[in-house]
């Protein structure tokens, strides 16, 4: 039963993370509000982080932290590398989001709108 569920879960987790990416992309591509677009970006980020963590997961594995007496437990640990990558990626993503939001504030200051298709003074 667990194994069967686990197989479904495989599709579920990968599928959910990819769906998250797609939903974010949908927001980026169709939503006209700048804030929505940034929300979309952070949803994409979330999806990718989940994807990376899922890649590193090991069935029945433990967190990659050695507790006293279990120094030989490396074989049952989940992959720590994607976790390290995600740690970095989260912080970077946050930095980018922050910059994006401050740009939005400034755009609003000048344009008094958040519609992306009204902010196109630079073209061709």
């Amino acid at each position: 039963m667990d194994d069967k569920l686990f197989e479904i879960l495989e599709f579920g987790v990968y599928g959910a993370s990819i769906l998250l990416i797609l939903i974010g992309l949908y927001a980026v591509l169709t939503k006209r509000s700048l804030i929505k677009i940034v929300i979309g970006m952070s949803i994409i980020d979330g999806g990718i982080h989940l994807l990376l963590i899922t890649i590193g997961y090991l069935k029945g594995g433990t967190a990659p932290i050695f507790s006293p007496g279990y120094e030989e437990a490396a074989g049952q640990m989940v992959d720590p590398v994607p976790q390290a990558l995600v740690l970095t990626a989260i912080v970077i993503g946050f930095g980018v989001t922050a910059v994006a939001l401050s740009l939005i504030i400034r755009l609003y200051r000048h344009h008094h709108t958040l519609e992306i298709d009204e902010i196109k003074r630079l073209k061709w």
Partner: protein
Amino acid sequence: MVGSPVLLIAIPLLAAFVIPLIGMIWKELVRIIPGLVLAYMLILSATLLYYVSQNGIIVETIAGWQPPWGINLVFSPLTGFLATLMSALGFLVWLFSYRFKRNVDFEPAKKYFIFLMLLIAGAIGIVITGDIFNQFVFIEITGISAYALTAFYTGRNSAEASFKYLMMGALASSFLLVAIAILYSQLGTLNMADIASKMHTMNPTYKIIALIFFITGIGIEAEIFPLNGWAPDAYTEAPGPVGAAFAGIVVKAGVYAIIRMIFTLFDIPSAYDFLIVIGLITLIVAETSALRQEKLKRMLAYSSIGQMGLVIVAFGIGTHEGVFAALFLMLNHAVIKPLLFFSGSSLVFNSKEKQIAEMNGLGKRMPLMAAFFSLGAFAIVGLPPFAGFWSKLSVLSAAANEGLLLIIVLILIVSVIEIVYYFRVVNRIFFQEYSREKSAAPHRPRVNALVAMFVLAIAILVIGFYPDAVTGILHNASKDLLNTDEYINNVLQLGQSLTR
């Protein structure tokens, strides 16, 4: 041994952290220190390049772990050449903008120099790192500095340009992460050499999907055609020297990243043809868009994109001659385009809209700037005896050697278009009447800016009259890029190891 490649990254980062502190003591240091750092980077990378050309590739490990496990930096003839080029250009950009915002507030100036320094450090990091995730981090460093520099002027357009750039950049980093995820899930490693050595074991389907995401992610930085919407806007709205830095430094790093992927990491031969096609499309679309451009910097931006397209075509030829030609083009573009940006932004310095039409008759008012601009224009369209000619010739002869006659025809047609729009500007500057109402008011550039431009102009003339001054380095670099096995061996067995 004069130093290690890691200092090329560590020193600017250290300086970036130091500057806010030291700015509280003496404000002028905020301007001086980045220059010193960039000069140091230039000297260091040049010395290392010389060392490498004598003793072979340097592989620097970080935190003492051997390459498949630890992050490593690779300073080879190719990466060394690019790093030297970037730091030299970075120094010139610093020199040009040394008195930038001199009389305005202190805060923006401080940030400007920090961003500029980190932009260059990030670009060098992209080039010399040997680890894909580390490359991603450097791409982000470069990216955020670039967004900030684009939004540097407080007008409304700069924020718009910056936001577009950021949107594309965020998409790029997402795609890159997906690609990294695919590669890691298949090969369990992040080291470029390790990936390259294991690539043949990977299922071709996954391989191709990973490559596609890589190309898209980095292609946004490298300005290949459908992904370069941000570029004209960012170049237009960023301050002039920053446009020069984008054209000369950031794009080069992006192109390098794509090339490293296709030449070294992925063993997909048809990717070369793809490079040719996409490069040609980029070239044609960009150059034709530049034809009717009304704004100077935007025209330069399209021209820059077009040149990068040409570089990618040349890389796509894939032979030694092709790679040599591409590197030569990169070098020339890195020398010429900053000169155009510097002199162009000096010419329209006092104009509000930065229109080309406002440059009428400025040749008589600002003869030196106009002469520099014309020199750049002559060189970039490939007129002998200036620098651009040799690279154009080598691209064409590389293509001819492979029998790609259609490509030659297309490149030449596009060159004619390029001539048209550059010469229209030159004509305006020199041979049309200055009108007090319509033309921009003359502006007298400072000595530091003049020196920066002189250096570039002299470089153009030197390469033009004596191309052998650089061809040796370029041949070494192209050999290095094409020799994948040697790269893998050197990195994995720590070729010229840095243990002392």
